[in-house]
């Protein structure tokens, strides 16, 4: 078989294939539910209800979407420039550590100063964590996929060391957790009484900033050029190495904000399970959004909804909660295929 590019895909094609992908995902989810001995329609209904069926559910979904927006943006920014940052998990933890370092009483500043300082320090730490692999890529040609993946394990062990050593909460009954943040270091809630914090607002803002950078600045243009054709970009006089490093700083900083927002907004302290793989899920979020920063917000909410919905369904219907991950992996694989099929004709021979 052979792939032939289509100059102007029809609307039916552009919408049809992604729709088939979505249907396939739902079908697989339903068959898994049946496999687990549950009614597939009831299961899907429970997922939907758990994700968006009440005010509490919606807020829970938006809360879960917050770190995913950050990690999704981090991945989208990097992948656009063909910098394969699979290390958002490590950068997230780096940001979380900085939030704890500055927010547990080391700085007795008012909120208006302390929160920006924490966010800035978090971004710096995350940026530095990704700068390492990026320099290795630019200077020595070391594949960043492997280094960022391996760094995830190193950083997680490092955080574990901190939580059992210098950052350990003396009042934590021996659990590996940090002390709690001082009240000034907590991100306030958007609306009093509702469990949604300003991390979500910061996430939306970040998406807009990234959108502006990508579509309205020279750096954005250069990142796109490097991603589309490195040789051509080099030939056109774009400093490819420097653009990759700048992309790394931005991407690492964004992922670190996820850690800052989880610690300062949601949890109030740092534990080793603060991220159930938000860094990796960010890849799905970014791909489903076609690497578009505004799309990331939408797809993060969708992905968060699947997780929150599946959690609540699992409690009610007894279908293992891993069904969410299977459906998201299926959505990812079928969607990248569907998007390719909207742009290419498959020919025999």
């Amino acid at each position: 078989m052979r792939l032939e590019p289509i100059a102007n895909p029809t609307l039916a094609r552009t919408l049809g294939f992604p729709l088939i992908a979505l249907t396939l995902t739902v079908l697989i989810g339903s068959s898994l539910a049946m496999l687990a001995g549950a009614n597939p329609f009831a299961t899907l209904g429970l997922i939907l209800k758990g994700a968006a069926g009440s005010r509490f559910a919606i807020l829970e979904t938006l809360n879960r979407a917050t770190p995913l927006i950050f990690t999704g943006l981090a991945v989208a920014v990097a992948f656009r420039a063909k910098l394969w940052n699979i290390g958002a998990e490590a950068q997230l933890y780096a940001g979380a550590v900085m939030a704890v370092l500055l927010g547990t009483g080391a700085l007795g500043w008012p909120s208006g100063l302390l929160l920006p300082a924490m966010a800035g320090a978090a971004m710096l730490a995350g940026a530095l964590v990704l700068l390492g692999p990026a320099i290795l890529k630019v200077r020595f040609g070391v594949d960043e996929v492997v280094t960022t993946l391996l760094f995830n394990f190193v950083v997680l062990l490092f955080v574990s060391m901190l939580l059992e050593g210098p950052l350990k909460d003396p009042m934590g009954m021996g659990w590996p957790q940090s002390s709690r943040l001082i009240p000034e270091a907590r991100l306030p809630r958007i609306i009093d009484g509702l469990r949604l914090h300003w991390g979500f607002g910061l996430a939306i803002l970040s998406a807009l900033v990234v959108w502006v950078i990508q579509s309205r600045t020279t750096l954005g243009y250069e990142m796109r050029a490097v991603g589309q054709n490195r040789q051509a970009a080099e030939f056109a006089g774009i400093p490819v190495g420097r653009v990759i490093l700048k992309t790394a700083l931005l991407s690492g900083g964004l992922a670190a904000l996820a850690g800052f927002s989880e610690v300062a907004g949601l949890k109030g302290n740092l534990t080793l399970d603060i991220s159930p793989g938000f860094g990796y899920t960010g890849i799905i979020v970014a791909m489903l959004a076609l690497l578009n920063p505004v799309g990331v917000v939408v797809s993060a909410i969708f992905v968060a909804g699947v997780f929150v919905g599946a959690d609540s369904m699992s409690r009610a219907a007894g279908v293992p909660t891993y069904i969410a991950n299977i459906m998201l992996a299926t959505a990812l694989l079928t969607m990248v295929l569907a998007i390719a099929l909207t742009r290419f004709n498959v020919r025999r021979g």
Partner: protein
Amino acid sequence: MMEILDILLSASFWAAVIRIASPLIFATMGELICERAGVLNLGIEGIMVAGAFAGWMTVYSGGGLWTGVIVAMMAGMLFGLVHATLTVPFGLSQHVVGLGVTLLATSATYFAYRLALPRVNTPPRIEAFQPLPIPYLSDIPIIGHALFSQTPLTYLAFVLVAVVSVVLYRTPLGLALRAAGENPSAVAAQGLSVTGIRMGAVIVGSGLMAVGGAFLTMSAFNSFFFEMVNGRGWICIALVVFGAWMPGKALLGAVLFGVFDALQIRLQQTTLGADVPYQVFLMMPFLLSILALVVMSRRASVPAALMVPFNKGER
């Protein structure tokens, strides 16, 4: 220093080195075959998880040990088929598809585990492969115990390296496979199917990765638990680079990795381990892998068409 010397001179240390290296050898050979044909397979981590579970589950439900190995291999090949179909004929991003396959294989495995054993806190153990000392050879001091008192799967791992070397460098099939990764147009010009060769390589390679995973449950830990693969797949990808895409050197890398891993485990129990947090030791294998990548990347000979999709009639 004396403590380290004591460790290095003990026979049980070298036996552990080979035991740690064995699953990595299977998976590294699998990845090497894929990459030599031009396909980066990031599904490796998830495929190892699937293989670990499939092999263990087969034995747990009453199947034979070798049946378990074959079931694991078939599970791996199934995910390999998914990866191959999406990346080879459709030419989709090998990064994205690979990570997707890892997520799919991992979560499908965990789902299946929860379905099969809904209410189990301590994972049940199976009667796993037993060490099979080879007569006479296993009596050689230190080396004998390390190399010739292992389980059958370890011997198989070493045989596999030889087989992969011979096939890659001494057969027309190996030539075609390497050419598919270096210069696919030349392969197509010979009237061979690049798509077929690459898909075959990914499917077979994925099968081997799954056997590597099965080693963990059937020859090392004897039970299945979550997070048990713990980055071994990613380390194998580093080992392929370290080995400059050559089976023999990759084997050396896996054994070297085994040395460091076995050493860090033992160092934790020494006086040094009392002063240094255990996480530092656990970090070592990952840091060393990164270091190895940096050192080797300067003279690495990457297959020229690695990660380059081939579309017939396009140039």
